[in-house]
Symmetry: C2
Subunit: 148 residues, 2 copies
DNA sequence: TTTGAAACGTTGGCCGAACCAACGTTGGTG
DNA sequence: CACCAACGTTGGTTCGGCCAACGTTTCAAA
């Protein structure tokens, strides 16, 4: 993790910088989540449930951009910790309805706080205005490339 | 790849945006490199060699931020294609001296052009000034987090 | 009404990037 | 000489992400 210098030609390259910055962000997030003994997939699912209420696994996968098969494993973990409940949907027996437990809602809130703290650490070298500018530019970049 | 919506709370988060943007950049780079039938590690090594001349594998690893063990495999690939030459260092028999062949120098140049093209595609939604602004902000972010 | 396509959860596997542990060889220093 | 460090190499692990296949269930068209 010690500052990969890389060829000088790469060091100023946007794609390389994005990669490096995302790598640092991922490390910070990962370290933050480690305190909860959970990982990115778990938080995304908890946050989606906290935000939009119970949903089927397939719905969760679509909303979080997580593959159905990975949702299975993550929900297994979360259910094993009592953070979510998996119940068959009486209206459509193909589906499982996933709901947050009280403990799950608590954990979602705490992880949200961790995420907020990480954002502050991540943007520490920038002024508030610069951080917002960066967010705006990244948003436009991402939205452009998300449409086809 | 269909626009992972994620919980709304995440969508505006710098760490998430960085991750998404880097993901798009990585995809573009990856697609570009696929035409050369090579990948990121290979390009970093070729570029480092083109820039600073022959070096030992350990040196290359340090300069490119690639683990020694991964350098072995990548150099195996490059040597197998005749893009680099691996020769024992007469002055220190622990080392291998890796040198670019003419074909390797050509490939490094061509891949550099691919990288340049990708940067243009990546920054397409931004004006030139905005692209430079993004680069500046990312550079400061990365440099800050690289120093411990 | 039967039949076929689609969605669902699940299992199992693959990939690329990154990291780490261990080993035998070689080099330099106390 | 003894020791430790650096080197190249093998082998293995993790994590996020993706894909294929299967049996079950639902729904719509023939």
């Amino acid at each position: 993790m010690e500052s990969p210098q890389s060829p000088a030609g790469l060091r100023t390259t946007p794609s390389w910088l994005l990669n490096q910055a995302a790598s640092h962000a991922g490390r910070l997030i990962s370290e933050g989540f480690a305190a909860h003994d959970l990982r990115g997939y778990h938080y995304r699912l908890l946050a989606a449930l906290a935000e939009a209420g119970p949903a089927s696994q397939a719905d969760l996968g679509r909303r979080c951009g997580i593959d159905r098969s990975d949702v299975v494993a993550a929900i297994n973990d979360l259910a094993g910790r009592g953070l979510v409940v998996r119940a068959p949907d009486p209206a459509d027996r193909r589906r499982n309805v996933i709901s947050l437990t009280d403990a799950g809602a608590d954990e979602a809130r705490r992880m949200g706080e961790t995420v907020d703290r990480v954002q502050r650490d991540l943007l520490a070298p920038l002024s508030a205005a610069e951080g917002e500018q960066l967010t705006r530019l990244l948003t436009r970049l991402v939205e452009h490339h998300n449409r086809r």
